[in-house]
C-alpha cells in the first residue's frame, strides 16, 4: 500500500497502542472524532502486550537486535515537508523501556541421547532461532517414542493432558514413594513421564499468552467500570481469581479474606476469626466510626492494626495481602485500601479480582476494536518521525509518519517511550522488576487446580519492596495444560534478576542442570519445578505528568503501565487526557448494540463521515499489516472458546 492511501487529516493522531492510548482512541472515535492510531511495533498493546511462547522468544530476540542496531535518520526526506514558521520535533525511534532481559531454560531436552552428547548449559541465555527450528523438526518422533514406551506411562500421560489432577501423582511425598514403589510394577517412577520438555513448550507454544505487565482487575475498579459502561466488555471473557495466598515464614498459605474463607480457614482460631471479621466489617464503613481510628490518623497503619488486638498472622494478612500497603503507610490510607479490597469482594466471586482470559494484552485490543468499529484507522509497524510545531502558537499542526507523509491533526497523543530525552525535564524514572516463570505445578496444590492465585510476598526487611506474584492456570488460556504461568512483579532495587532470584529459589525448585530432578526426600521435591524463566526490567513512568516534559500544548503523553496491581491509574489518565481533548464530550458512553445501528446505504453520506471510507482503509490496511483489533486468533482456534463474532464492522452487516 502506498503512503498516499492514508488520509491527510485527522482530528486525533495516537501513537502507541498501550491501555491508556487505546482507551483514549476508543473514547475519541466513539464520539465521532477521526482517529489515526499507530504503533511502531508489529503487535498491539506495546508494553501491555501478551505473547505466545514462541512469540515471546522472537520478541526477546528482536529486542536484543534493536538495541544493537544503529538507526540512521534520513533527515532530508521529511525536511522539505516543514514550512516556514514551523519547527520539527523529533520522536524517539528506539524503545528503551525494557532492559536487563535474562532467559534461562530448565526444561529437559526431549532427546535423551542428544542431551548426553551436549554438555548441559544452565545459563545459556536466549534460545536462538536455530535451536527452535531444530526442536520443531525433531519433536514428532520424540513424542512418539516417549508416549508409547509403556501402557501405564501412556495412561498417566493422557491424564495429564486432560488436566485431571496430575498434581497428586506428580508430587509424591517422601513416604508415599517408599510405600508405593514395591506396589507399582513400573520400573520408572511415573514422574519421569509427565515431565514437560522444552520441545513440548515450543510445540504447545500457542497455548501461552504471556503478559509483559502482570495486573489483575479490581472488580469495582476503574477498568471494570469502564468496560461495563462502554460495552467494551463484550469483546472479552474473564475468570475469577480463585484465592489469595501469602508467604509467611517461608510457607505458602491461603489468606482468608472473604466471609467464606474465614469460615473455612483451618489455620485461624475461632477467636481470630471473630477479630478478623470484626476488623474487616469495621473497615467497610470506617468513615462512619471516626472515633475508632482518629487517634492514629498521623500514625502508621501497622501500629493501628496492633492496637486492634489482631494477632500477628492477622496483622500480616491485613497489611500485606488485603490492604497491600507497606509498613510505612499511614492509617487512613491503609483503611481506604482495605475498604477498596472489601468492596470489590463478592461482585464476581470470593476474591476481589478478575483476570481476562487469554491475558491482559486482550484489554487494550478490545478498546482498539471499539475504536475501529467507530471508524478509527489502525496501522502497526508504522510510526511518526517528527511533529510539525507551529512556532507562533506552540501547537502541533501535523505529524510526519515513518513513510514521510505529512498528516495534519488537532491533537497528538503519544506513549511516553516515544519521547526523546531532550523533551524531558529529568530522565530518571522508576523501574519495575519482572520475572515470568513456567512451572510444572501450583505453589499450593489444592483440589481444584484450575484456579488463578494472587500471592503476596511481604518484604524480607522494611527497606526492601514486597513482591507480587500471580500464578495463572491453564484454564485462564495463558499456558498449556499441565503447566502454570507465574508472574513476579516488584519495584526495582537492582536488576530484575538480582531482585527476584531470592524469591524464585525460595518458592520453586530451580534445577542446577536442565531437566534435573530434585533428590528424593529433599525439601525441593515439594516445590514446583521451574521449566523456563525470564527476567526483565520495565520503566515505570507513572510518576511523570505534563510538567515533566517540554512539549507543545496539544501533545498529550501517556505514561506506561505502573507497578500497582490494578489498572486504575491508566484509566484515570486516559479519562483526564480525553477531558483535555474534548471537555464537552461524554467519556466512553455505552456503545449501541450492533442491531440498533442504522446503516442507510442509500442516503448520501457527508464527506469523511461514514464508515465507508474508513472501513475501506481499515480493510486494506489489515491486508498488508495482517492486523485487526481482534481477540487473538490462535488461542481461539485451539480452545474453541465462545468469543463474540470477530467482525462487528458495520459494512459486513449491510
Amino acid at each position: 500500500m502506498a503512503a498516499e492511501d492514508l488520509p491527510s487529516q485527522f482530528d486525533v493522531v495516537i501513537l502507541g497502542t498501550g491501555l491508556t492510548e487505546s482507551v483514549i482512541a476508543a473514547a475519541c472515535s466513539r464520539v465521532g472524532q477521526s482517529v489515526l492510531h499507530l504503533d511502531r511495533r508489529n503487535y498491539y498493546a506495546g508494553n501491555w502486550a501478551s505473547f505466545t511462547f514462541n512469540g515471546l522468544l522472537s520478541w526477546i530476540k528482536e529486542y536484543k537486535n534493536q538495541q544493537e542496531a544503529q538507526i540512521t535518520e534520513s533527515e532530508e526526506e521529511w525536511r522539505r515537508l516543514i514550512d516556514e514558521g514551523e519547527d520539527a520535533m523529533l520522536l524517539n525511534s528506539v524503545d528503551s523501556s525494557i532492559s536487563n532481559i535474562e532467559v534461562f531454560s530448565y526444561a529437559s531436552e526431549e532427546d535423551e541421547k542428544e542431551e548426553d552428547l551436549k554438555p548441559p548449559e544452565p545459563h545459556h541465555t536466549v534460545k536462538t532461532l536455530s535451536e527452535e527450528t531444530r526442536a520443531d523438526s525433531t519433536e514428532t518422533p520424540d513424542l512418539v517414542t516417549s508416549d508409547v514406551s509403556t501402557d501405564s506411562e501412556l495412561k498417566s500421560h493422557n491424564k495429564e493432558e486432560e488436566g485431571a489432577e496430575p498434581e497428586k501423582e506428580q508430587r509424591p511425598s517422601e513416604d508415599s514413594i517408599e510405600e508405593q514403589q514395591p506396589v507399582t510394577k513400573q520400573e520408572e517412577p511415573p514422574v519421569e513421564v509427565q515431565k514437560i520438555t522444552y520441545q513440548k513448550l515450543l510445540k504447545e507454544g500457542r497455548r501461552f499468552n504471556i503478559d509483559l505487565v502482570s495486573k489483575l482487575m479490581y472488580s469495582r475498579g476503574a477498568l471494570v467500570d469502564l468496560l461495563i459502561k462502554s460495552n467494551v466488555s463484550r469483546y472479552a471473557e474473564f475468570k475469577n481469581i480463585g484465592r489469595i495466598l501469602t508467604c509467611r515464614n517461608g510457607k505458602v498459605e491461603q489468606v482468608p479474606c472473604s466471609r467464606a474463607d474465614v469460615f473455612a480457614s483451618k489455620q485461624l482460631t475461632v477467636v481470630e476469626k471473630r477479630m478478623l471479621m470484626k476488623f474487616l466489617t469495621f473497615c467497610l464503613d470506617f468513615e462512619q466510626h471516626p472515633e475508632e481510628f482518629q487517634d492514629y490518623s498521623t500514625k502508621l497503619f501497622s501500629e493501628f492494626l496492633k492496637s486492634k488486638k489482631l494477632t500477628e498472622p492477622l496483622q500480616d494478612f491485613v497489611l500485606h495481602s488485603i490492604a497491600m500497603v507497606t509498613q510505612q503507610t499511614l492509617t487512613e490510607e491503609g483503611l481506604k485500601a482495605t475498604q477498596h479490597f472489601l468492596r470489590c469482594l463478592g461482585r464476581y466471586g470470593n476474591t476481589p479480582f478478575l483476570f481476562p482470559l487469554y491475558g491482559l494484552g486482550e484489554i487494550p485490543q478490545c478498546f482498539c476494536r471499539m475504536c475501529a468499529v467507530f471508524g478509527g484507522i489502525y496501522c502497526l509497524r508504522h510510526s511518526i518521525q517528527c511533529l510539525v510545531v507551529d512556532k507562533e502558537s506552540n501547537r502541533v499542526k501535523a505529524v510526519i509518519d515513518s513513510r514521510g507523509q505529512r498528516i495534519s491533526c488537532s491533537h497528538f497523543v503519544v506513549e511516553d517511550s516515544y519521547i526523546r530525552d531532550e523533551q524531558r525535564q529529568n530522565t530518571a524514572a522508576r523501574r519495575v522488576s519482572r520475572a515470568v516463570l513456567i512451572t510444572d505445578r501450583s505453589v499450593l496444590p489444592s483440589e481444584t487446580d484450575q484456579q488463578i492465585s494472587l500471592v503476596t510476598i511481604p518484604p524480607v526487611d522494611s527497606s526492601s519492596p514486597s513482591v507480587r506474584m500471580i500464578e495463572l492456570c491453564s484454564s485462564s488460556m495463558t499456558c498449556m495444560p499441565g503447566t502454570f504461568l507465574v508472574h513476579l512483579t516488584s519495584s526495582s532495587c537492582g536488576t530484575a534478576q538480582e531482585d527476584l532470584t531470592p524469591i524464585v529459589s525460595q518458592l520453586f525448585h530451580v534445577p542446577a542442570i536442565s531437566g534435573e530432578e530434585p533428590s528424593e526426600g529433599s525439601e525441593e521435591t515439594s516445590k514446583p519445578a521451574v521449566l523456563w524463566i525470564m527476567y526483565f526490567n520495565m520503566t515505570d513512568t507513572s510518576a511523570l505528568d505534563s510538567s515533566s516534559y517540554f512539549l507543545p500544548s496539544n501533545v498529550h503523553v501517556c505514561t506506561g503501565p505502573d507497578a500497582s496491581l490494578g489498572s486504575d491509574y491508566s484509566i484515570q489518565l486516559a479519562e483526564s487526557v480525553f477531558r483535555d481533548l474534548l471537555p464537552e464530550e461524554d467519556f466512553c458512553p455505552p456503545a449501541p448494540n450492533p442491531e440498533d445501528i442504522i446503516y442507510d446505504g442509500d442516503a448520501p453520506q457527508a464527506e469523511g463521515s461514514g464508515f465507508d471510507q474508513n472501513n475501506e482503509e481499515d480493510k486494506s490496511l489489515s491486508e498488508e499489516e495482517s492486523h485487526s483489533p481482534s481477540i487473538s486468533a490462535p488461542a481461539e482456534e485451539d480452545t474453541g472458546s465462545q468469543e463474540p463474532p470477530l467482525d462487528t464492522n458495520p459494512t459486513s452487516e449491510e
Binding site: G32, S34, A264, V270, K273, P592, D596, I597, G608
Partner: protein
Amino acid sequence: MHGRVKVKSSAQQEEEKKKEREQKLKLFVAARDTVFRKRSAGEHDEEALQLTQQLLHSNPDFASLWNYRREILLHLETERDEANVQKLYESELFFIEACLKVNPKSYGCWHHRCWVNTRLPKPDWTRELGLCDRCLSLDERNFHCWDYRRSVVKESGVSVEQELQFTDRLIGSNFSNYSSWHYRSTLLPQVRQQPGSDTAATAGCTPQSHRVCEEQLLKEYELAHNAFFTDPNDQSAWFYYRWLLGRAEREEMISCVYVCREGERVAVAFSKPLHAPSAGLLLVLDGKPQKVNWRCIHPRLHHSPVWLCDLPAGSICDISNEHNLTIHWMEKNTHRDCALYTGCAESWCRDSATDQELFRSELSVEKGSVLQAELESCNQLLELEPQNKWCLLTIILLMRALDPLGHEKETLAHFQTLKDVDPMRSSYYSDLCSKFLVENTVLKMEYAEDLSSVCHLDQLLLVTHINLSNNQLVRLPAQFAMLQCLEVRWMTHLFTTANYLEIFLLLNT
C-alpha cells in the same frame, strides 16, 4: 455532528419489539391450538412431540403440555426396543435441561424430569447429580432442585458420607444457606446406621435414639463455632447449633393422677398434650374397666396434657371404702396407679418435682462435660460480642441444661440484656424467662414473681393455693384450668397491683 453512528431511537426499538412480540404470540397460539386438536384426536406422534417441545421451550410452565407429552412418550415407548427407549428418554432429559434454563423453578419441568427417570431403562444418576450441582451453584436456595436432588440421592443410593461432603461444600461456599445446614441435620442421624461402623457403636449410639455419635457431634460443634464466630449475626448456624445441642425426647408417660371423692372426679396429667378420647386410655377401678367420658379442661383445647373424667355415680363416694385406680395408656404401653384410702377425700400419685429430668429435656442429651465446653465457647464469643442476641440466648439454654438453679442469677441478667438489645422480641424473652422461673420455682418449691406468663400449668395440677399478684400478667390462658385442685378463694389477689389482667376466663372447677 458528522462521523457519529446513527442509532435507533428507543421508540423505534420499542415498536420493533412490540411487533416481534405480537408475531411470537400469533405463532404460539396457533401451535397451541394445533397441539390441543391433536390431543383430543388422540394422536401420539413425533409431530406432537416436536410441537409441544417448541411450546414448552418458550413456556415451561404449561402443565397440560407436559401431561400430553407423557402420553406421547408412553405411546412411543411401546413401539420401540429398549435401546431406542433409552435414546428417547435421554433426549427428553436434554430437552428438560433446556427448559430449566428458561425457568429453573418450573414445577412442570422438575416433575417431568422425575417421571422420565422412572421410565428410563438405565438412568444416569451421576449426570443428574451433576445437573443439580450446576443448578444449585446458580441458585443455592432453589428448593425445586433440592427436592429433586433428594429424590435422585434416594434412587441412586449415594452414601451418607458423600452427601455430608456435599453439604460441607455448600456450607463452605455460603454458610448462610440454611438449606444446606438443614440437609445436614437430616443426614447426621443416619451416619451411625452405616453397617460396620464400630466407632458409632462404641460411642454409644443406639439405633433407637435420634442421636448423633459423639465423635461426629464434636466435629459438628466445631463447624457451627466456625460459622458463628465468623458471623455471629447469621442465624443459620445458630439454629443448627441449637438442634445439635438438643435432640432429647422426653419419655412419654402419665405424670400425675388425681382422684377426688367430691364430684367423683379423676384428673390425669400426661407428659405431652394429647387427645384423650383417641389416645387409647383405659381406666380400671378396683380391677374393673370403666367406660368413662374424657373431657378436656377447657372446651377450646383439642389437645391438652390434662384430662378429666367423671366416675360412675356412687362408685367412690363412700369415704369408708378404699379404692384402687389405674390409668392405662395403651398406645404407649404405660400406666399409673393411684390408691384412695379410707377416710381420705382425695388422693394423687406423681413423681417428685425435684426430678432432674423434669424441665431439662430441651438440651439435656449431652454429657455435662460436653455442654460445659460448649458453654465456655459461647461465653468466649459473648466476651467479644456482648450484644449478640443469638449468643445470649444460647448461653441461657446451655445454663438451663447444665444447672438451672446454679445459673439463675446470670440467666436473669442475660434475659435483661436480651430485652435491651432486641426490644422487638422483649415479650418473647419475658415469656421464656417466666417459663424458666416457674420451673425453678417448682424445683426449689419456692415462689416466683414478675412473670409475664404462667407456664407448666400441667405440673401444677395439685396446687391448691396461688397468689398471682406482683406479676406482669396480661391474661390467663385457657390452660389455667389445669389447676384442678386450686381453691378459688386463693385467687383473690389476682386483680391487685402490678398485673395488667384484661380478660379472665371462667374456670370450670
